[in-house]
């Protein structure tokens, strides 16, 4: 699941995946290795790409306040764009569903197009916030289930991918 982290008015689609001994942050097409060396409420001791850093944080609703490397940061956490397997549990034919009601701002990819993980597929707007739905792995766009300007309800399939050989 991709989460939106907004800072300075820009939203970055991110998710964490587990790797042996730690986590990997996937953001903006980059991967960052994180090892958690200790934590208590409001404190994190991390090694980010091998560099130790102590972090203080506080969360209030969607607001995240952070202090690290001597500086303060304020981010907003936006609901993840949930993805579900589109029936039958076939991992090769997965689809992205709408996390909440919204409108399609524009279609970026077209059916049949070959895409790499991280490529933009379409842009939606929910709660006055634009989110780019990106390819969650390499493949081919099977179908764009919505058109530009269309409104949709939560859970509607937006786009599906098929694995390429």
């Amino acid at each position: 699941m991709r989460h939106g982290l907004e800072i300075d008015g820009v939203t970055h689609d991110v998710f964490l995946s587990p790797v042996p001994g730690g986590f990997c942050l996937h953001a903006d097409g980059q991967e960052t290795l994180i090892v958690c060396e200790g934590e208590t409420q409001g404190y994190l001791a991390l090694a980010i790409d091998g560099e130790d850093v102590d972090i203080r944080y506080a969360i209030a609703g969607e607001d995240i306040f952070l202090h690290m490397d001597g500086r303060h940061y304020h981010l907003k956490h936006h609901e993840p764009v949930r993805r579900f397997a589109s029936g039958g549990g076939d991992e090769a034919n997965a689809a992205a569903r709408a996390p909440m009601p919204g409108t399609v701002v524009r279609l970026v990819a077209a059916a049949g197009q070959t895409v790499a993980a991280g490529d933009a597929l379409l842009v939606i707007e929910s709660m006055k916030l634009e989110t780019t739905i990106r390819a969650w792995r390499d493949g081919e766009v099977a179908e764009l289930h919505v058109s530009e300007g269309q409104t949709f309800e939560r859970g509607v399939v937006l786009v599906s991918l098929v694995e390429t050989e």
Binding site: M1, H3, L5, I7, D8, H12, V14, F15, L16, S17, P18, V19, F23, C24, L25, A27, D28, Q30, E31, T32, I34, C36, G42, L44, L46, I48, D49, E51, V53, I55, R56, Y57, A58, I59, A60, I64, F65, L66, H67, M68, D69, G70, R71, H72, Y73, H74, L75, H77, P80, E91, A117, R137, D138
Partner: protein, 492 residues
Amino acid sequence: MTRPIRKLLIANRGEIAVRIIRTAQRLGIATVLVCHDLDRESPAAALANEIVLIDGRTGVAAYLDGAQILSAAQKVGADAIHPGYGFLSENAPFAKAVADAGLIFVGPTAAMIDLMGDKVRARAFAQSHGVPVAPSVIEDDDPANFVAKARALGAPLLVKPSAGGGGKGMRIVRDMARLDEEIAQARSEGARYFGDGRLYVERFVEEPRHIEVQVFGDGKGHVVHLGERECSAQRRFQKIIEETPSPVLSPAMRAKICQAAVDLAKAANYANAGTVEFIYGRDAFYFLEMNTRLQVEHPVTEEVTGLDLVEWQLRIASGEGLPLAQDAIKTQGHAIELRVYAESPPRGFLPTTGPLLVFDPPEGEGVRVDSGFRQGQRVTSAFDPMLAKLIVAAPHRGAAIERAHEALREFVILGCETNLAFLDTLVTSDAFRAGDVHTGFIDTHPELAQSQALEGDELQRVLAATAMALPALREEAEDIPALHAMMGGWRN
């Protein structure tokens, strides 16, 4: 004759109330704090031996209500009232009412507050006692002549409402063709803000430095100074960094300025703490005004002298006289105060509000934090947005700047935007390090207030830390081992 103070009422709030209560308690004086409902959970209220609730249409109105506060002092049997700074501290009728009620006002006499509160009279007083004032023209009731005389001074000129303060209505005129127009506008602003359209015009000092001298008088003609402070780092005429000693004064000039301040206070037969403010530039200094109270920035003086200025105020107020003679007052090292505000420097220093989810001031050798806030409190627009004063001291200026830089980076305030990063940028700037910051510097260097765009490694690190702090992201990563295996496959 001495009148010991056994019970002191503090007619203020926030950090200065905390500051006064601490010293009073150390001296064995019982403390009573007047407190608006909004401040009931404040550190000052927790610290005071007793609190008296006061009310008003707003919080500020309550602390400005002299009659209510005086009656509270009488009810609890206080023998003295300390007004702190701001609020009633320079209110002559209040000082008079306190004295008339038989209580001690910790400050100068009402007459002195009255004299120094009127810029025109204060200036004339200074001039008549040999204290340098800028070449100027004071408004008389002859506007035509006033403008002609102002024109004769030559550019650049500073036009100010005589009843003014805080920079309101002040204008700099460099082009004499605009003089009539600027005078008309300053007059209308003076009338609007202060109910007094009288003006004065003086020669403007380019790239001026704000230098002030801390003095204490016993009211019997004895006056000492505790050195100067430089407060040239200002935005819109408001001080944000103060230091002592001034990096710009030569020893000879320092001695001259301090002596001028002492001369003025002596001539006035001044009692208690006062600060004589000067404008300094091009090897000349001119009297600006005298503040008849404790200043926000008094801690830098305390750090280099090792003296407690509130203790001095209380001892003088109780009639003990000056605690030390001039030659017994020594200064050592360098001290800098940085005012931490709830504000947004990139958005024109607009005040900000929010909960103090984390409020963790720095500690350590040479680091002092005076604050009236604690973690969990909410910063509201009801009062001044100053969250804390960070004061650092070190053997010399360079070390004090380094200490300020480190302490600013260790100061953690989460939940409310602050000027911490801006203060760090400013105090470590080449201009500040070189001692070149004048009172117009910040306003003419708006780039200092801009936040740098977050990019590259720093952005990735911030996103990584945030992702790790969010339970939803962590749980998802930990809960989906199948996805984990799949992603591992992609990468390899």
